[in-house]
């Protein structure tokens, strides 16, 4: 894959940036996310997570299911803080 290929469109993260981290030994989805912000944008990884998982698996010569996923926590999409703060329905 060409280094200039965009993997995460929300955060503009390229394969080159991700490959650099893999070369350094950061090989889990969580590590890549925290360092590069891949998967942390508007779509919360709905577009890039699968691409990223496949790319990591291929780099490590492993199966996709052998790459640990990150923990799934609410919310599934960005919620404005004002909406949370203004919630009076409890």
């Amino acid at each position: 894959m060409d280094d200039n290929t965009i993997i995460c469109r929300c955060e503009d993260v390229t394969w080159g940036e991700i490959r650099k981290q893999l070369d350094k030994g950061y090989t889990t989805l969580d590590e890549i996310k925290r360092i590069t912000r891949a998967g942390m944008g508007r779509c919360q990884g709905k577009t890039c997570q699968r691409v990223l998982l496949n790319a990591i698996a291929r780099y490590l010569n492993k199966k996709v299911e052998e790459i640990p996923l990150s923990k799934f926590r609410p919310p599934t999409k960005p919620v404005p803080l004002g909406v949370l703060a203004g919630d009076k329905n409890d």
């Binding site: 469109r9 577009t47 919310p75 599934t76 919620v79």
Partner: protein, 371 residues
């Protein structure tokens, strides 16, 4: 906070069928969907369905949706929330929903049983300039054209010759848009030959063992390079071909939208035949979490016809688990299951059947339900 017997997340074919079935068992139902209107992918499917009359063969997807929505709106025990995204399922069994076009209000509900029918998302491909305007998912193009009446461009390259790629290519041609070519990475066409032949007769080349290598353009797509690939999916040098296109349509598969299921803590497994991570479940569509049922593409990528039957099975059994037995429960339950296995009794369903064998929790199998 409002309580419901059944809350269904997703108003596509699976969710619509589940809602009607659950309501017919006298349960109180909330149907939540993030679209502007109910119907999921059905509302853009202008083509007629295949199969048997029970699965609406010969009827267009959009008419199937209208038929369901009409009945659902007439059901007094179904509440509907559209433009509403289920954002979280918490340990105390509360579901949070972000409502409104701009997501400006947060609703909390307490379902006694949750049916997750969130469907799927389109797969993305990594290639150079994949972030240029003019690069679309095939499903997005179908929505633009068939729901909003907007053409995506003038000259299209379709990537993927599965049923979605073939059907959307044909619908593009119907909208007077030029489809320059269809490329398919696999050595043979994945979709039904009846669709492929129709397109081939109209003079559109379908290249197999071939994929998109690169898109060119500054502000938008101005051209594309396709390239043959070998058995290991590596580019074969000197086999590139340049195409004059302004639109790239990606029909390279779907993945189950399973975030909400992960949050419920039910057991999940990676099943390639079902196109990603899916929940383990029994034949009544109940997951390893006692209160969580599933139906449709979130259980594994298949078709609207099977999604509707799974919705019926989930709706019937989720309500039964709460004590609302339909007066013809036994008869209906075996009828739906028979229809589903008939639908899957063909060579195209081989992978699906193999995948299901890997996720099915057998009857009588001791399973410790997590709460």
């Amino acid at each position: 906070m409002k309580e419901y017997d059944i809350v269904i997340v997703g108003g596509g074919p699976a969710g619509l069928a589940a809602a009607l079935t659950a309501a017919s068992c006298a349960a109180s139902v909330l149907l939540v969907d993030d679209g502007l209107q109910l119907g999921g992918q059905l509302i853009k499917q202008t083509h007629k369905f295949f199969g048997s009359s029970e699965q609406f063969a010969g009827i267009r997807g959009i008419e199937i949706a209208d038929n369901f929505i009409d009945k659902i709106k007439k059901s007094p025990n179904i509440d509907i929330l559209t433009q509403a995204t289920a954002t979280g399922y918490y340990e105390d069994g509360i579901l949070t929903i972000l409502e409104g076009l701009n997501g400006n209000s947060l609703v909390k509900v307490k379902p006694r049983c949750l049916i997750v029918a969130t469907g799927a998302a389109e797969n993305m491909l990594p290639f150079i300039n994949n972030d240029l305007p003019g690069v679309y998912g095939a499903g997005a193009v179908q929505t633009l054209m068939n729901v909003y009446g907007v053409v995506p461009g003038e000259k299209v390259l379709m990537v993927g010759a599965g049923n979605i790629g073939l059907i959307v290519a044909y619908q593009l041609i119907q909208a007077k848009i030029k489809v320059e070519a269809i490329v398919e990475a696999m050595p043979c066409i994945g979709g039904y030959w009846v669709h492929a032949s129709k397109i081939a007769r109209l003079g559109v080349p379908i290249y197999t063992s071939c994929t998109l290598k690169e898109v060119r353009g500054k502000e938008q797509v101005e051209g594309a390079t396709i390239c043959n690939i070998d058995k290991k999916f590596c580019f074969i040098s000197q086999s590139e071909k340049d195409l004059d296109v302004d639109t790239i349509c990606l029909a390279v598969g779907l993945s189950p939208l399973s975030e909400l299921l992960w949050q419920t803590g039910c057991e999940m497994n990676y099943i390639p035949e079902l196109c990603g991570y899916v929940a383990l479940r029994d034949e009544n569509m109940r997951t390893s979490s006692e209160k969580i049922y599933i139906a449709g593409d979130v259980t594994g990528i298949e078709e609207a016809s099977s999604a509707m039957i799974e919705g019926q099975i989930a709706g019937l059994n989720a309500t039964a688990s709460l004590g609302f037995y339909h007066k013809e429960y036994t008869k209906l339950n075996s009828k739906y299951k028979r229809q589903l296995s008939q639908l899957r009794n063909n060579i195209m369903s081989e992978a699906i059947n193999r995948g299901i064998q890997k996720v099915i929790i057998q009857k009588g199998e001791t399973h410790v339900y997590s709460h």
